[in-house]
């Protein structure tokens, strides 16, 4: 398959993730949509690595996976802390900072 097809799939997945971040209200689902966007970027990186025949892009994708794991850990920790503090699990309700 042409590399362009992979890039189109990557762009579509990134778009779906971005729309999900904007529309959903639960922070859990927003974290899942962030994962979607990171994975779309990973697919583009690996497609470009294949295009150039250079494995550096794959190393980049692995580092992105590490950063995504850290983001998940901290994000889920914040959600658990919100649940402990009896705060609503809803980004529209969390307006302590008057945002």
């Amino acid at each position: 398959m042409d590399i362009g097809w992979y890039l189109a799939v990557s762009a579509l997945i990134f778009t779906i993730g971005a729309a999900g971040v904007l529309t959903r209200r639960s922070p859990l689902v927003i974290l899942l949509c962030l994962e979607l966007m990171l994975n779309a970027a990973n697919l583009a990186l690996i497609a470009f690595a294949r295009m150039h025949g250079d494995p550096d892009g794959q190393i980049f994708a692995i580092i992105v996976m590490v950063v995504a794991a850290c983001e998940v850990t901290i994000g889920l920790g914040i959600i658990v802390a919100m649940h402990r503090g009896r705060l609503p699990i809803d980004v529209d309700e969390l307006r302590e900072l008057q945002g």
Partner: protein, 220 residues
């Protein structure tokens, strides 16, 4: 053959992504993301990224998603109404934003004029993307990013423990709930740290009388 596999995996990945956004229950969203990640791993395999595909399945779809499932079960994955509460205006704006973003991304990548973009990519050897090659690169050229990434993981682990730890002690109900069968079978003053420090979790038998009294086992 590669085309068929590409379309199967691509449709699976896109369907999984749509499922993450469109399903109401967060638990089903997590399951949709697992199927999305597995399809993406198939795409990685088609691109000769074998090690990344394996790491995707084992680490991402395996470990990270289990973390998600636990948190969804803990927080309570109740159904939420889709869309913003303010009305459908914001939703429409976000869909338009997504469409514009897709067009822009396609224009940026497909219209970039890269010569190899309409080919299968350059010819690569059989060792491309293998664990041996990735490992050698991580320990030679990319040693510093590798070490920084491991340090970042350590910081994230410590941060998660600090964020999710329990502030304040157990409530009375939890204090009752933590008695187990072992507390009855075990002689008094032989066991837990809580007994040793005389904390609030001492056994009833231990608080009632002297330590020389008969154990619960002999009572039974």
């Amino acid at each position: 053959m590669a085309e068929v596999l590409f379309f199967l995996a691509g449709i699976g990945a896109i369907a999984g992504a749509v499922g993450v956004v469109a399903l109401r229950n967060p638990f089903f969203s997590v399951l949709a993301l697992v199927s999305h990640l597995l399809s993406l791993a198939a795409l990685f395999l088609l691109l000769h990224a074998e090690f990344v595909a394996a790491a995707q399945v084992v680490v991402y779809a395996g470990a990270v998603m289990v973390l998600y499932v636990f948190v969804v079960a803990y927080v309570g994955g109740q159904d939420e109404p889709l869309g913003p509460r303010a009305g459908s205006g914001l939703r429409l704006v976000s869909i338009v934003f997504g469409a514009v973003l897709f067009v822009e991304l396609c224009a940026a990548t497909l219209g970039s004029g890269l010569q190899l973009i309409d080919t299968n990519g350059t010819a690569v050897g059989p060792g491309f993307g293998s664990p041996a090659q990735i490992g050698e690169l991580l320990l030679t050229r990319f040693l510093l990013p590798f070490e920084v990434a491991s340090f970042l993981l350590l910081i994230a682990a410590v941060g998660a423990v600090v964020l999710a730890r329990r502030r304040g002690g157990l409530t009375a109900a939890e204090d009752q709930a933590r008695y187990s069968a072992m507390d009855v079978l075990r002689p008094a003053y032989t066991g837990t740290t809580a007994e040793g420090v005389g904390g609030p979790h001492r056994l009833p038998a231990a608080t009632a009388a002297a330590p020389a009294q008969t154990t619960p086992v002999e009572d039974a």
